[in-house]
């Protein structure tokens, strides 16, 4: 049975191995140079300001590749679900070959188990390899651009162990959808739609609630103020506070002394203590005193960087649970409904 499963999978396997080899080649050729350039640049940049400028330039120079590789890992599970999962059973059902193979001396259950195991292991391996390669390559860039922390929704899904669970989920989702729809093309379309919806919905509505988030209400100080600005004359004056390093900010609001959320603070940027002074322009100490006297605080809700691995673990477990459910459903459907 393993022979048959492999025989039916080998074209996919060859294509995937080729793509992974190309990725590995690119990473091997450009990765060491990238790491080296960052190490030398950040060591020899001199003052703090020059180092910040170096880091910014360094990231911008490689942003395209960084984005492209991240997107590659992001869409990989969907591609696996689309091209490995959805046709796995539906193509057999469409061509009628299930009636050939289910009448050899192998039960349907074993047949499905073998095919799911091979596909599942391949999906996890492919995704794991791609994540390892891209994570390693991206490391100097993420150090140069700390705002691209791995807690950020898009990067969270392409780092750590979550991507392999995503790949498994997409694969089994494709198989289950294909088993029910019995046609590869509709199965591929539905798999893509459902999986994309999952990929969007999880960071938006599920992930923020998986772990208790931290909410702080902090006074504005020269150390934590990141910006004071207005979008135009007459528009409210807004304040931004720098966030804890590597954290994922879920919500950020300015509140007044009574704890009510306000759109803007009641200070003027044109005159008085908060008008920008000096070079680079910055609000004066009196400005902070005034903001503080008026009772303004910044209420920030975030998940700190140290929540990365617990969050990865929970989300991986969640996907594995759903994957197991999908596999069980496919077994049930194949035994009961396609008969």
């Amino acid at each position: 049975m393993i022979w048959l499963a492999w025989r039916q999978f080998r074209v996919h396997a060859a294509l995937t191995a080729g793509a992974l080899a190309a990725l590995a080649l690119y990473v091997a050729l450009t990765g060491p140079g990238l790491a080296d350039a960052y190490a030398r640049g950040s060591a020899g940049c001199g003052g703090e300001e020059a180092c910040v400028r170096f880091a910014q330039t360094f990231f911008l120079d490689h942003q395209l590749s960084f984005t492209a590789l991240s997107v590659l890992v992001l869409v990989l599970p969907g591609v696996i679900g689309l091209f490995w999962g959805a046709p796995l059973i539906s193509r057999e059902l469409e061509a009628g070959t299930h009636r050939l193979v289910w009448n050899q001396s192998v039960t349907r259950g074993r047949w499905l188990a073998t095919r799911l195991s091979l596909g599942g292991v391949a999906a996890a391996l492919t995704s794991g390899l791609a994540v390892a390669l891209v994570s390693w390559w991206s490391e100097p860039l993420q150090r140069a651009a700390p705002q691209h922390a791995r807690m950020e929704p898009l990067l969270f899904g392409v780092r750590g162990v979550v991507p392999f669970a995503y790949a498994l989920l997409a694969f089994l989702l494709g198989v289950a959808v294909g088993t029910v729809l019995r046609r590869p093309l509709p199965a591929m379309a539905v798999t893509l739609a459902v999986f994309t919806a999952v990929q969007i919905a999880v960071p938006l509505v599920v992930r923020p609630h998986l772990l208790p988030s931290t909410t702080v209400e902090a006074r504005f100080t020269p150390g934590n103020l990141r910006g004071i600005f207005s979008e135009g004359p007459g528009e409210p004056v807004q304040l931004e506070m720098s966030k804890p390093a590597g954290a994922w900010t879920l919500a950020e609001q300015t509140i007044d002394g009574s704890g009510t959320v306000v759109k803007g603070v009641d200070v003027s940027l044109d005159e008085g203590p908060c008008a920008p002074q000096g070079s680079p322009p910055a609000p004066s100490a009196q400005c902070f005193e005034m903001i503080d006297r008026l009772g303004y605080r910044q209420r920030t809700t975030y998940l700190t960087a140290d929540r990365f691995w617990p969050l990865q673990g929970i989300e991986t477990g969640l996907y594995l649970l759903v994957s197991a459910g999908l596999a069980g459903f496919t077994f049930f459907w194949l035994r009961r409904r396609i008969s």
Partner: protein
């Protein structure tokens, strides 16, 4: 006589439509059994239930004393060549044999290779490039080399031209004789049944109309022609299958235990085709039975 297939009140429903209902039949061992009947009689459903491709909605079916497809052991004992003889288009002939060898504990590789060689099939050819007849032969080879005790074939020759049909049935008969397996094949082509089968089951609307060895059936059925009379007044032991009358004359198809002695009748033998058609007619269904007669 032991039964290879034993069905009791067997039924299969798809949604609201019953493809088979209240089917009770016994298929004896050691025969090449032809299952004939009009389209929609439930032949394909019955055979798929026997092969374990389908599970019954109601009733029971036993195949070789076991529940169909209840495990690898039961699957190994029953060969099934499905309608349209599906094969993997991307696999070569040799890969199909390898599939058979990998998935069947009793696989007879020498038999399979020998059959492929005799059929003149190129082992390196992809199944998708084969003709319909060659694909059917490949599927049959898989079914035979599995060395089952019972081989079930669902309309195996429907898509083939007359020559390919004859070759296919020839191959089937040779294999049957050689390995002593029981065969059940469904067909709506009576000429094929006549050529290949020694036992006949006529299935109409899920019911067995008539079943028996072909020779016995032919010996027991007669066409009687004579002066008009009421068929109810025939002697006991003579059952009327069909009757048609003109003003002065009656033509009856009867099943009789012994010879017909009444001198008023002109007695003629029936061909298998006449016999089957008589039973299909007798169902009283409207419209013609969708049974093709091809020679």
């Amino acid at each position: 006589m032991s039964a290879v297939i034993r069905a009791r009140d067997l039924g299969k429903r798809y949604g609201r439509r019953w493809a088979l209902s209240d089917c009770t039949l016994d298929v004896p061992a050691g025969h090449v059994v032809g299952l004939v009947g009009p389209n929609g009689a439930g032949k394909t459903t019955l055979l798929n239930l026997a092969a374990g491709q389908l599970t019954p909605t109601t009733g029971d079916i036993e195949v070789l004393g076991g529940r169909p497809a209840s495990g690898a052991g039961q699957l190994a004992r029953v060969g099934f060549v499905a309608q349209d003889t599906p094969t993997y288009a991307g696999f070569t002939v040799a890969e199909h044999l390898r599939l058979g060898a990998r998935l069947n504990p009793r696989w007879d590789d020498a038999l399979a290779r020998d059959r492929i060689a005799r059929l003149g099939l190129d082992p390196g050819a992809r199944a998708g490039k084969l003709s319909g007849g060659q694909r059917a032969q490949l599927a049959l080879t898989l079914g035979i080399a599995k060395r089952p005790e019972l081989l079930i074939l669902d309309e195996p020759v429907a898509a083939l031209d007359p020559l390919a049909r004859r070759e296919f049935l020839q191959g089937l008969l040779e294999a049957t004789a050689e390995h002593g397996l029981s065969v059940v094949l469904s067909s709506h082509l009576l000429s094929d049944v006549e050529r290949a089968c020694d036992y006949l089951i006529v299935l109409v609307d899920s019911r067995v109309r008539v079943a028996g060895e072909v020779d016995d059936l032919l010996a027991a059925h007669h066409r009687l022609t004579g002066p008009r009379r009421d068929p109810a007044r025939l002697p006991s032991g003579q059952d009327v299958v069909t009757a048609s009358h003109t003003d002065r004359q009656s033509t009856l198809v009867v099943r009789a235990d012994g010879p017909i002695h009444d001198p008023a009748w002109t007695v003629a033998r029936l061909t298998l085709e006449d016999l089957v058609l008589a039973y299909l007619d007798s169902g009283g269904q409207t419209g013609r039975p969708a049974l093709e007669v091809l020679r």
